[in-house]
């Protein structure tokens, strides 16, 4: 089963970090085949940020996303560029603090930035909250693998806060499903 996930938002929201952590979790700890790609164009330096992760049980030949099953959208510009193209059977996670549009497909509101500020005191945890939500909403990765990848990717001293961030994301989705 090939599962394509599109992450997009603003530079500084940790979009690419989130994609790399998910890829790392699936590749190294869940023993999946994974390809992660990201936008390197001028837009990546001027605000917009985009990345994609493909996770599969089989070897991945074509390395680019074609029709993502899952979208993580953290800015309105990202919605306009990627989110509006979501297929009707896709799943979208949006941060309602940044995204006003809503798609035709199933959409979960994950106020990652607001919860990061309110519960953890820093906006930087928003991307890990999103990862916790993504895990719970899709089952594309298991908790242990994701936690390991988060912990070996984040700065020393932030481990507990990042574990909390994962749990916050998971709870937000549990309440909605």
């Amino acid at each position: 089963m090939r599962h394509e996930i599109r992450f997009s938002g603003l530079g500084g929201q940790g979009i690419i970090t989130a994609a790399v952590i998910l890829g790392r979790a699936a590749a190294l700890y869940a023993d999946k085949h994974v390809v992660q790609t990201q936008s390197y164009g001028p837009e990546a330096r001027g605000g917009a940020s985009a990345s994609a992760v493909i996770i599969s049980d089989e070897p991945i030949h074509y390395p680019k996303v074609t029709e993502p099953e899952t979208f993580v959208i953290m800015s309105q510009a990202a919605y306009d560029k990627y989110g509006c193209k979501a297929a009707n059977n896709a799943l979208m996670l949006v941060d309602p603090g940044y995204v006003t549009s809503r798609p035709c497909c199933v959409c979960l509101e994950v106020p990652a930035t607001a919860e990061a500020k309110a519960q953890l005191g820093k906006l930087v945890f928003a991307n890990v909250i999103m990862l916790g939500a993504l895990m719970e909403a899709t089952g594309v990765i298991d908790y242990d693998s994701l936690e390991r990848a988060v912990l070996d990717s984040v700065p020393k001293g932030t481990e507990e806060a990042n574990k909390k961030a994962l749990a916050i994301g998971r709870e937000i989705v549990r309440k909605q499903l």
């Binding site: 790399v20 890829g23 190294l28 994974v34 992660q36 790609t37 164009g41 030949h61 390395p63 074609t66």
Partner: protein, 393 residues
């Protein structure tokens, strides 16, 4: 750097990362492959989309007793790795199209002085500064013929992150074995994407053959390859970009000597085409056969997985010298389709060796060929009547 000691790979402690599985991008994998192969000298000028190679080497080389130099430009980068190589270190630089162009003069110098070195070109859209962040394969002919005069080189083309590691190791071995510049012709897609990679332990190292007592510095062995007189090992040697005799001294007015030197330097590679063949051959009985290298290989493999048995595939991991003998293995071939991220550079090479009709499937602009586009090329192959037909994707 410490002379030949730098060719050893065993390091104390945990400084060498081999044996681990990692989730790296292609450029990082390339740098780690170089370190595993014993590369201990890197001189370069960072350029998108190859920059992560220089960054990784800058961070890692000092930890393994190597040297990283950020040079003033690519002319100097290429000159520095020639020097590093003669000092005994496995030496490398990494660049992209604009820097590759600047390296051409000294690549010729490396060719005529038979200096083992590895040049990585993570290709982007050209000509000139073109599309810095987009993938292309437009430098394949430049890799073969970019410097002036007649010479031959070896060029490899990776299509996965693992191959960025493995083919970098291979590039160093071939550079030392054949005493030639070896090019790793990657592209932005493979350089920047992340995949799982095994940092192989105890990679095979085939060191260059040191010059023997009594042997002349440019005297070829039975393979046409002279021994290497590493600086500091007591050899009296002269290295020059001028046409030179077996002693290594300039001898520019003899037509016979010049022809013999050029032919030997070309033949040492071209006559080893069988040894220098690294390909995948899939469904050799097929009538429609794709020939690809680098990123487009990924799309061809997707198509073959989607429609098993329908198409043949020749994937080239070594593009130069071109493995023309592999074309004969596709005995039923009615068309060779060559999808490239350029206007058909290797397709022209295929044309030299076959009367089978050729479909070129060029794709410019940075996006990888899609499976649908390859199907379109395959459909065109059925109806094409001319010897070479370009499909506009």
């Amino acid at each position: 750097m410490g002379g030949r000691k730098t060719l050893r790979t065993k390091e104390s402690g945990d400084r060498i990362l081999t044996g681990k599985t990692e989730f790296y991008n292609g450029n990082t994998a390339c740098a780690e492959g170089a370190l595993a192969a014993g590369c201990r000298f890197f001189a370069g000028y960072p350029i998108t989309p190859s920059t992560e190679i220089a960054e990784r080497m800058a961070a890692r080389l000092p930890k393994v007793g190597g040297t990283f130099v950020q040079m003033e430009d690519e002319l100097a980068s290429m000159a520095a790795i020639v020097g590093g190589s003669w000092a005994g270190a496995r030496s490398m630089t990494a660049t992209s199209g604009p820097g590759f162009s600047l390296m051409m003069e000294n690549i010729g110098y490396a060719a005529i002085t038979e200096t083992p070195c590895v040049v990585v070109n993570v290709q982007r859209g050209g000509p000139s500064t073109g599309q810095p962040t987009m993938a292309a394969q437009g430098d394949m002919m430049q890799a073969r013929y970019g410097s002036h005069g007649d010479y031959s080189i070896i060029a490899l083309s990776p299509s996965s992150v693992q191959e960025m590691f493995d083919l970098t190791v291979k590039a160093f071995n071939l550079a030392d074995r054949f005493r030639t510049p070896v090019f790793l012709m990657a592209d932005e897609t493979i350089g920047h994407m992340r995949e799982k990679i095994l940092l192989r332990e105890n990679v095979e190292i085939i060191p260059r053959r040191e010059l023997k007592e009594g042997e002349l510095p440019c005297e070829p062995d039975e393979n046409g390859i002279p021994g290497f007189g590493t600086f500091g090992n007591g050899h009296n040697i002269h290295i020059t970009g001028l046409t030179h005799n077996e002693k290594g001294y300039p001898a520019t007015d003899s037509a016979e000597l010049h022809e013999a030197m050029v032919r030997r330097q070309v033949d040492k590679i071209e006559k080893h085409r069988l040894e220098l063949t690294d390909v995948d051959i899939v469904n050799p009985e097929a009538e429609i056969v794709f020939i690809s290298y680098g990123a487009p290989t990924r799309t061809v493999r997707q198509l073959l997985a989607d429609e098993p048995g329908k198409y043949g595939h020749l994937n080239l991991r070594i593009v130069w010298p071109f493995p023309d003998h592999c074309l004969e293995q596709f005995t039923n071939a009615k068309a060779f389709i060559v999808p490239e991220m350029n206007l058909g550079q290797i397709a022209k090479e295929v044309r030299q060796y076959t009367n089978v009709k050729i479909i070129t499937a060029p794709k410019l602009g940075g996006a990888l060929h899609t499976v649908e586009e390859l199907k379109k090329a395959a459909a065109a192959a059925e109806t094409a009547t001319r010897p070479v037909t370009e499909v506009r994707l």
